[in-house]
Symmetry: C2
Subunit: 379 residues, 2 copies
């Protein structure tokens, strides 16, 4: 097994684990910064390493379209292409494709869609998506699945679930045919399954049981944070997580806000990814230990304190809120980077603190302490 | 004297010197990266230091409008505001104001203009511009001058010259009234004069003589690279430079392309600034030892060599042309930074090599060797 469960926290279902990949060992719970197009937006690979990220995310769909498999193959795989030597998980891009209402057509065989870049037509099957990720040489591959929006009616959700399971079986077969290694790097690749089922408890249960019956390296929960109320997502996780085998890593796709990390690690999730820390950073919003702040607000124009007094990131060590406010007002590129550095550091540091709280069996207290400050009114 | 002339190269008029400022010693000839709005575009102050920049440029006009004197005063000056501890030269912004055709009105007293940011009306006098730079706390201040476009007729150019000299005298008086120190940092500030005169040899001569008769810390040559043919600029420099005192630094404003550095250091220029290295970088164009390259060209899509085989910059040590090509095509912010890092490093490294060539009295050979490779057809 590449995953080792170290312990479960005394008061909650929070877990400490260790995931071993060809490019290094990842401590879980883990947050994976998102590098959709082979770049964690506004940051260099060196900065992402320096901040302590142990694994990042790439997107097979985006990289298939641009730069394309030929370039990645010639580069010797995605790691070399983007100069990142740690582990990479690649998402299939199913979520991106299924978000294109009207521009894609799903059949049993696969999905036909038009490129968001140039409108060209493409047809991807579960097998092709495994093949693309074999070219990328990611450490963890995700299968093509159908990700439903909220709400979706029960009949459609059941049909979609069946399709996703069928595609998963085909993905597993293709992965086996490739000897479970990247055809570019020759290194081992893991494959996770994705539990779907919309927001129906019976379907989530069915999906979890059928997915867990297959031979997989880890289990993901997809179709969450697609517009539903948060308590519905929590209910679904409460139904799904107990059905997943304890000896495999559990990845909650597309989630990673500070409050969500506390809420879902508590339920037993091991892995997270989210574009919000970098996207919000570029929009001026930063996380701090005393709440969210929007740096463009006028109150920061003459505030010469760091973004967060309790933060040790490059930005907080070197620059003030007043300077960042100026950079954003003056539309200077450096502002986008400094905010991104801070937000990614904030989330990575938070997940470190969460691991520490699990190790010390003080999860409820640590969460309460964090939340008391974090949920103050931000500015 | 804060400037020490170390030597003149044996075969040319190229000079080695040393300029001592309150924030450190600058070896000349020097290239000053441009940080108009308190940021060298796309780069952090730390990166600019690491690349070996000894002095950077700021712009009084831009910083007066945004963030404004109140903020800079509260920050304790421009150095602290932008976390740059080395020397700073601030341009007055005369060039920017006079480029606003129709949006500004010049009188003997000063210049009235509308902000390029919000259209608000402003009136700046030579005294106010010195006052702004006193607030900024730059090491070297530039006086408000009138910068003419090309061509300008002789009568207007003569009137403009008289105005620029008058404004310079008022600037000197204001600087003296402020005891030649920054009212924010308490540190010494140097003041340079600017030789104008359009492209008339008699006016350049008159301007040089009248400017050099005043008590100044250095002499700048303005009004060059305003649309004229390059040989005209060279002729004007040949007339002007011999009239400048050898014991003061000579700053050619707004110039800094690789070929220009060789051409004008040879004539005796000590200081340069130019936005082209960073601006072109953001447009995809990079300097290399074998010529200019445009990274978005298709030939780079599968070129896994560094931007320049002979370059030791962060970008060339870590990333390939193919990756940079991808970043630009995918509109990833990292591409703007990596190209900017490379171009600024390239120019700083070039000026180091130029200093070395002067030290070794092999300027003509070194220039010929550089140009032979650099002027190859770029791609």
């Amino acid at each position: 097994m590449s995953f080792r469960l170290i312990k479960t926290e005394k008061n909650t279902k929070a877990r400490l684990g260790e995931l071993t990949t060809p490019h290094g060992v990842v401590q879980t719970p883990v947050f994976m910064p998102v590098g959709t197009q082979a770049s964690v937006k506004a940051l260099s690979s060196e900065e992402v390493v320096e901040m302590g990220a142990e694994i990042i995310l790439g997107n097979a769909y985006h990289l298939y379209l641009r730069p394309g498999e030929e370039i990645i193959t010639k580069a010797g795989g995605l790691h070399k292409f983007m100069n990142w030597s740690g582990p990479i998980l690649t998402d299939s891009g199913g979520y991106q494709i299924f978000s294109m209402n009207g521009l894609r057509k799903i059949t049993r065989e696969g999905v036909k869609f038009q490129s968001h870049i140039d409108g060209s037509s493409h047809f991807l099957t579960p097998e092709r998506v495994i093949g693309i990720q074999s070219t990328l040489g990611s450490d963890i591959m995700m299968p093509l699945d159908e990700c439903l929006s909220y709400p979706t009616d029960h009949v459609l959700a059941k049909e979609s679930l069946d399709l996703t399971i069928d595609w998963l079986q085909r993905s597993i077969a293709e992965h086996a045919r490739l000897n479970r290694i990247s055809q570019v790097t020759g290194l081992k690749q893991m494959l996770f399954g994705i539990v779907q089922g919309s927001f129906y408890q019976d379907l989530r249960q069915e999906s979890a049981e059928r997915t867990c019956a297959l031979e997989l390296d880890g289990l993901a929960i997809g179709g969450v944070s697609v517009g539903e109320p948060k308590d519905l997502a929590a209910d679904i996780l409460d139904v799904t997580l107990p059905l997943l085998p304890p000896d495999k890593p559990r990845y909650l796709m597309g989630i990673g806000l500070p409050e969500d990390l506390w809420d879902y690690v508590e339920k037993g999730v091991d892995m997270f990814d989210c574009v919000v820390p970098t996207r919000n950073a570029r929009n001026g919003q930063v996380f701090t230990s005393t709440g969210k702040r929007v740096i463009t607000h006028a109150c920061y124009k003459d505030d010469f304190s760091p973004l967060d007094e309790n933060c040790g990131c490059f930005t907080c060590r070197n620059y003030t809120r007043a300077y960042l406010h100026h950079l954003f007002r003056a539309q200077e590129l450096l502002g986008l980077r400094l905010n991104s550095l801070h937000n990614v550091h904030f989330v990575l540091n938070l997940i470190n603190n969460i691991r520490q709280a699990i190790a010390e069996d003080r999860y409820p207290q640590a969460k309460a302490e964090f939340m008391a400050k974090y949920l103050q009114d931000g500015v």
